[in-house]
């Protein structure tokens, strides 16, 4: 009997020590988050955050077995994990497999019987079926190849009354939607993206950037002659710097402005429908010095669940936001170590991993998630799907690793609200500074409390009234005379 008890005790001890060690291991693993990564608090302060991504390997052309890359300018990854690198300096496309080994090189295609090649191509897009679109900048055309690398069509010299007669078509980026419409970003076009239909005919421009007028310039323009004015700066909208398309067919675009909304999500009409409900409008760096200036965004990549990332060429950092515009994490930088870049030009997300292409070094750096990054990604996905139970659990895990991640508290609050724990939900919404949801939880909480206490409160009031009434009656009946005499004395 006592033996049995002792056994049980030992087993309990073992379990306890195991639990303890797991806890200790856990804290150790999170403690080395480092101060490289950060996030922004509601008040705009930079707060440290654990690293969400870590550079694991960098791949050069030689390592992939394709010879060195020369000024590669774009890359694209298909859902099956194949990596297409646009090696602009060598006028070719190199296809790598999941192990980052070359499987195919496309440097020529059959154009109506004769062999044709690219000339300084700048943009690349690969459809889910493996069809390739190349913005063949040097040849002033967009080339469309099918999965067997057979030419489908060539889009060049577009004609329309919207275009000037001497229009010079120099495409630099291209995307295609599910309906085979092409969207092309071209040099010197200020009216937005050029849209082509499935036959390759130019249809319209969409999503022009806005013109910003400098008041000082405008003032001087008022007082100058026509001849002077013709030599002054023209107020033109800025060009886009890059674009991407998500599975729903919305175009995500970045522009090089130093002001306003530099990230846009365009619908079919070209309207900006990006949600900016985070603590800050998504635009890369929020706190910067005057000399440094704001982020210069050069690439955007949109993943599933409306998560998107932008690349800041000035700082070499990659900023990731969720669909609501909450800042999730940042990584990268300029430098010589692994995970730092010289001239980053393109980013691409493969499931949860990131590939960053460096033009000057001709290298691709691969970033993989840390425990923290994985949990946060999954939490945001679960939240996006509406799977609140899962999101609750994952956000709890996330804030255990990073208590500064304020928007995660709102995710927890939403789940609690759904479960009916209003008081607790209020606490979490307060921590994430979410007034609208706090108010929602509070209204339900107030209703609950009132429903619970209304009978007793009302009973109390009625009883008090009755007692007071009875007391006055009693006073009047018994001590009426004395009362009067007291009043008289006061007067």
């Amino acid at each position: 009997m006592s033996n049995k008890l002792r056994h049980a005790r030992i087993r309990l001890l073992a379990v306890l020590s195991m639990l303890l060690s797991v806890g200790a291991g856990g804290t150790l693993a999170y403690a080395d988050g480092g101060s490289e990564s950060y996030n922004y608090s509601f008040w705009g302060d930079t707060v440290p955050a654990p690293a969400a991504y870590e550079a694991t390997v960098s791949i050069a052309g030689e390592g992939a077995g394709a010879g060195p890359f020369k000024d590669p300018s774009d890359l694209h990854v298909t859902p099956d994990g194949r990596i297409y690198v646009l090696d602009s300096g060598n006028n070719r496309i190199v296809v790598l497999n999941r192990q980052f080994k070359e499987v195919e090189t496309i440097d020529a295609f059959d154009n109506g019987g004769s062999e044709d090649a690219f000339l300084n191509p700048q943009g690349l897009f690969v459809t889910e079926q493996g069809q390739i679109l190349v913005a063949d900048t040097g040849n002033k055309r967009v080339v469309h190849l099918d999965q067997n690398r057979k030419l489908v069509k060539i889009v060049d010299s577009p004609e329309s009354e919207l275009l000037q007669a001497d229009f010079d078509f120099q495409p630099v980026r291209v995307v295609v939607d599910k309906a085979q419409r092409l969207y092309v970003m071209a040099v010197g076009v200020f009216d937005g993206f050029m849209e082509f239909n499935a036959n390759g005919e130019f249809t319209t421009f969409i999503g022009a950037n806005r013109v910003r007028v400098d008041p000082v310039e405008l003032f001087w323009k008022r007082f100058s002659t026509r001849a002077q004015r013709s030599r002054m700066v023209m107020f033109t909208p800025t060009e886009f710097t890059n674009m991407d398309i998500n599975e729903e067919g919305f175009i995500y675009a970045t522009n090089g402005d130093a002001w306003g909304d530099t990230i846009k999500k365009l619908n079919a009409q070209g309207n900006d429908i990006l949600r900016r409900t985070g603590y800050f409008s998504p635009r890369g760096e929020v706190r910067y010095t005057n000399e440094e200036g704001p982020s210069r965004l050069v690439d955007i990549d949109v993943a599933d669940s409306e998560i998107y990332s932008v690349l800041d060429a000035k700082r070499g950092r990659i900023y990731t936001y969720n669909g609501d515009g909450h800042f999730m994490y940042v990584f990268g930088g300029l430098g010589n170590r692994l995970g730092e870049f010289n001239t980053p030009v393109a980013i691409e997300r493969v499931r949860d991993d990131f590939l960053v292409l460096d033009k000057a070094l001709g290298e691709i750096t691969v970033f993989r998630t840390t425990e923290y990054g994985r949990t946060l990604n999954e939490a945001v996905r679960a939240y996006y799907r509406g799977d609140e139970e899962k999101a609750f659990e994952l956000f709890q895990k996330t804030i255990n690793m990073n208590a500064n991640l304020e928007f995660a508290y709102a995710g927890i609050g939403k789940a609690l609200l759904r479960q009916g724990d209003y008081a607790e939900a209020m606490k979490y919404f307060k921590r994430s500074m979410d007034q609208a949801n706090y108010s929602k939880a509070f209204l339900l909480y107030r209703k609950e409390v009132l429903r619970e206490y209304f009978p007793s409160i009302m009973t109390g009031i009625v009883v008090l009234l009755v007692v007071a009434f009875a007391w006055r009656k009693y006073r009047k009946a018994k001590g009426g005379k004395r009362n009067v005499s007291v009043e008289q004395r006061v007067v």
Binding site: W43, Q435, Y438, S439
Partner: protein, 211 residues
């Protein structure tokens, strides 16, 4: 009549609803000592209201960063504008044939702040039990209190100086301008003093290091 009678507490409430009679009594009928006691009490209550409101007001109307909150600065935020207002107003009205003495200006200004306490103080707690849609009531009462105070300030100024309404408004606007001017002079003075202190300390260091 003793200054500690219940009349001492009733009078401020009488004044804010009957400002013309109230301020007349303030100037001509009532003891200056009692007025000063009430005035300082009002200032202290105002500070208390502001401090408590920034700390305890409901989350929906009060997003505040605990790192920026400083109770001592709240005293400055109340005392300095009142002091500036009184000095500027007195300086102007002495030149503009106002009849008010400095004490009268000070007491009338403090009495005019009473609505800001009477209305805002209960709202510290009420704001904790309202929803986002009901916050309009909160903002409405706040604005109402501010307008009421402004009205009292106007009547108080008019009564104390025995001005016409038009002249009172002109004086008040000029007072605001004068306050800005005073703030500018104060900053100038402070920076000059800083320069002098730096100069003296530099000379001191030079002499000390020479030996």
């Amino acid at each position: 009549m003793s200054p500690w009678s219940s009349e001492l507490f009733k009078y401020p409430f009488h004044l804010i609803v009957r400002p013309y009679n109230g301020f007349w009594d303030l100037k001509y009928e009532r003891s200056r000592r009692a007025n000063l006691i009430v005035s300082f009490a009002v200032l202290i209550l105002m500070v208390v209201t502001n401090v408590m409101s920034s700390q305890y007001s409901g989350f929906l109307v009060n997003l505040y960063n605990p790192q920026d909150m400083n109770s001592l600065m709240e005293i400055v935020y109340v005392a300095v504008p009142v002091l500036f207002w009184c000095v500027a107003n007195w300086s102007l009205t002495t030149l503009m044939d106002g009849e008010g003495k400095f004490v009268e200006i000070f007491t009338s200004t403090c009495f005019a702040l009473i609505p800001l306490i009477v209305i805002n103080f209960p709202w510290i707690w009420l704001s904790n039990v309202i929803s986002l849609q009901e916050t309009s009531f909160y903002y409405f009462s706040n604005s109402f209190a501010a307008l009421w105070s402004l009205y009292l300030l106007f009547v108080g100024n008019m009564t104390v100086h025995q001005f016409t309404p038009a002249k009172t408004i002109a004086t008040m606007l000029l007072t605001v301008a004068a306050m800005g001017f005073m703030a500018f002079l104060c900053l100038l003075f402070l920076s000059l003093v800083q320069e002098i202190v730096a100069f003296v300390s530099t000379i001191y260091q030079e002499i000390v290091l020479r030996n």
